[in-house]
């Protein structure tokens, strides 16, 4: 007999359940975690390197690095002085809670205070998959252009902080900061932002202060 079953269940509810499990692992170990997202080349790994250099003397950091292939990013994080685990997604365009869960099971979180999860470089998919981290951070960078909030709204919607990297390039590229910020403000009112340059070091102190306050 034909029947209509009303369901109303979020498609990614399974991912959300594992994300909650990850959160419990972080909390149980007394660790705070950040999910760092951006397009390829925005400066995720550079920001992580700078963050490790400034924070590692004060607290132990661990990095979970998501990439489609290679260990390049984890090697850079390790060289900067942090514990690093590389996840190769084998083609998957984002990290999901299951991959982070598997990485956590390989890690000894004893003594670690902050875990930074470096998501796969992508301005679309990572927004849809919760990982169980306490905060999500998006890096925008000046050469990407000022229209990105309008073109990739999902990504700007759910984050807790915005880093605007490569501000040293502002004199050389067309980037209307007011237009950019207007889009951000509509998508995520009151979003805290950190204009900075990983190359010159300008603005990094405010970013580091924010991390310390939130860990």
């Amino acid at each position: 007999m034909p029947k209509n079953l009303v369901i109303v269940e979020k498609i990614l509810s399974a991912n959300d359940r594992i994300a909650a499990e990850n959160r419990a692992i972080f909390d149980g170990a007394g660790v705070k975690a950040l999910n760092l997202m951006a397009s390829p080349g925005a400066g995720k790994t550079s920001l992580i390197e700078q963050t490790i250099r400034r924070l590692q003397p004060r607290m132990n950091l661990a990095i979970i690095d998501g990439d489609i292939a290679t260990n390049l990013d984890a090697d850079r994080a390790e060289a900067a002085g942090a514990l690093a685990i590389q996840i190769n997604t084998g083609g998957e365009c984002h990290l999901d809670a299951v991959m982070v869960n598997a990485a956590l099971k390989q890690m000894d979180l004893q003594g670690i205070r902050l875990v930074i999860v470096e998501n796969v470089g992508n301005l679309v998919c990572p927004a849809g998959f919760k990982l169980g981290t306490h905060k999500s951070v998006l890096i925008a960078s000046i050469p990407e252009g000022d229209d990105k909030p309008y073109k990739y709204p999902g990504m700007y919607r759910g984050v807790d902080a915005l880093v605007i990297n490569k501000i040293d390039l502002l004199p050389y590229v067309e980037f209307d900061m007011d237009y950019f910020r207007q889009g951000v403000e509509i998508l995520n009112p009151g979003l805290v932002s950190f204009p900075l340059s990983c190359k010159t070091g300008e603005g990094l102190d405010a970013w580091i202060d924010w991390i310390v306050e939130n860990t």
Binding site: K3, N4, L5, V8, S13, C93, Y150, G154, Q182, I186
Partner: protein, 114 residues
Amino acid sequence: MHELTVTESILEIALRHANEAKATRITNLYLVIGQFASIVDDSVQFYWDIISKETIAEGATLHFKRLPATLHCRDCNQDYSPGSTGFSCPNCHSNHVQIVSGDEFYMEAIDVES
């Protein structure tokens, strides 16, 4: 790539609810996708045809209900969907607006036979 994960979740949810209802066949699935949810219907359909084979959902039709995002202008109180040029209010051109909806991504219902 990410539509495969999504399609596997769709199948898992549908089979679980059908089994609970002791259904022997799933004929239709009704999915709701908001404008900001970044899901490609055709790609989901492609994976669906492959992974639903030899399950009670084989041959079921996927119905995608696309919901436009809704924005609310805080200056003139107009509710609207964003057009192709940006998010500003089409009525008064204000940027003082808030997003009301657009992130939806859920299964609303399935049709089953038993």
